[in-house]
């Protein structure tokens, strides 16, 4: 493989990491609170707002059921509004983030729902406010689950990011398709796949390790 090719792979890896990182951060900033709200706004719950809960749930489901590649092209006007352009890596971050929000929200919702409801009652009996309950009880107790949820989000985003080549987003997936497939360069394809496998392995292992460290539910000795 030529040095130019290796340089291309490094550059594509950088683009993938850039897109995934920004989408994860912004998607989590919106998705985590949304997930917490979905988990606590049902009937009789902490922030009981059953109608809002149902509406948000439906929006989340609709976004999640839209195939990502369709989402990418469907929101091009919005992308242009936010990123100033509809092509390139920065433009690709917009649909990635939009897809991340409901994904994170649902995962966080289920992580929060794993927390024993008895703990919410206990915190209420101490005179905790709903926000204190979210912060000191729900988020703290769900930390291992939240860590695994975010790990899964990052891994899935790496997969999604392969599709943004359609709008000139670049990244490893795009490189694999354009050089490995369309230009019949199997060595490039192989290199891209190996880099992706290593990336995903590293992220999953770190996530698992972190979640285990946060999880105090099992006897550590």
């Amino acid at each position: 493989m030529s040095p130019e090719m290796i340089w291309l792979i490094i550059r594509a890896t950088g683009q993938t990491l850039h897109m995934v990182a920004v989408a994860t951060v912004i998607g989590s900033l919106i998705g985590i609170p949304l997930g917490v709200f979905l988990a606590t706004s049902g009937k009789g719950e902490l922030f009981a707002a059953p109608i809002t809960n149902k509406v948000l749930g439906a929006v989340v489901n609709a976004t999640r059921s839209t195939p990502f590649i369709i989402l990418v092209v469907a929101i091009i006007p919005f992308t242009r509004l936010v990123a100033g352009t509809s092509i390139g890596t920065n433009a690709a971050i917009v649909p990635l983030t939009i897809a991340t929000i409901p994904f994170v929200a649902r995962l966080i919702e289920s992580a929060i729902r794993e927390v024993d409801p008895g703990l919410i009652e206990t915190a209420r009996s101490m005179g905790a406010s709903p926000l204190q309950i979210v912060w000191k009880v729900l988020m703290a107790e769900a930390r291992p689950g939240i860590t695994l949820a975010l790990t899964l989000t990052i891994v899935s985003l790496i997969g999604y990011s392969a599709m943004v080549g359609a709008v000139g987003g670049g990244g490893l997936g795009d490189l694999g398709i354009r050089y490995g497939y369309q230009r019949f360069m199997p060595d490039v394809m192989l290199a891209v796949v190996i880099v992706l496998i290593v990336l995903v392995q590293a992220i999953q292992s770190s996530g698992d390790w972190l979640a285990r460290r946060f999880d105090k539910r099992v006897r550590s000795r």
Binding site: G118, E121, S125, G127, S129, V218, S220
Partner: protein, 370 residues
Amino acid sequence: MNIAVNSIAASPASQTASESAATDLIRIEGVSKIFPASRNSAAVAALDGIDLTAPRGSITAIIGRSGAGKSTLIRLVNGLEKPTNGRVIVDGTDVAQLSEAKLRTIRRSIGMIFQHFNLLSSRTVFDNVALPLEIAGVSRRDIEAKVTPLLDLVGLADKRSRYPAELSGGQKQRVGIARALSTEPKLLLSDEATSALDPETTQSVLDLLARINRELGLTILLITHEMEVVKGIADNVAVIDGGRIVEAGSTFDVFSAPVHATTKVLLSGVPGMQLPDYVASRLSPTASPESATVLRIIFTGPHATDPILSQLSAELGIAVNILGGAVDEIAGKPFGTLFVSFPGDQSRVESVREFLRRQGLSTEVLGHVS
């Protein structure tokens, strides 16, 4: 008989408290709680016309079978449940009328412990005990100063940096108790706190609760389905069944002379409360010429240790057959029951009962066996 151990349960506060209603920390008046009908169930009256008081400094127990309404009842006291009707007065304030924001302040003066301990698995022992203080906005330094002595009190000073998963059930409940005490409450609510513990651990947790009651003057309201818990530490007891209080009074009175059927059923597991099976199965309500009368004799107070039966035989010339019995303690007072049978007609039975009455003992004719 080990009077010294259990005498702590009958704290002096409970006697002074009964003199005046003003000294009741909790006064529940005419409370009903109806859970409205939902798609899959009809409306349920969990509580129906409850009146209950808990004197300041006392240990009051509410006992009942599961589904009797005791969980709902105890949750009224800190406003986790709102009554449909009635008043729930805690330290002079009707908590049923308070807004959620006001309730949050009140709840900081009411500790609560739970059957499944409800500790945060992500926090160490120290941080679990510190949680109510963090919620109340106490500074980190003051938290340290308050939590450390509490860990000493419950005997867990060496476990302060451990996580709940590393503790036994009894240790977890001790953390729960320390946590409930951290904001220096005047009232402790105990929701089946010993139900998930083995008998030995139950006893040590009860001893701790009795000590807290005595040393800190803390009023304790507990719910349980275990008679042993009531017998061990409660000054007063209320028996709840089907959302109503069917019997209430001092633990000793209720236990030594249970009136309501539910109370009797709940007491049946306690030694000496039930006729041995081999007799019970042959018991008949009517006498026949050759049958013997079965009598339950209840010994209370100082008579529990008197040689009553030998006096009875000597004075009336009756051969008394002992069927079973037990000597026990309730709220620190000696209490005995004895099941006896003796042959003879109705007048003989009356003379025996009269003799025992003169000795200050109560009796109950259970039936006849042939």
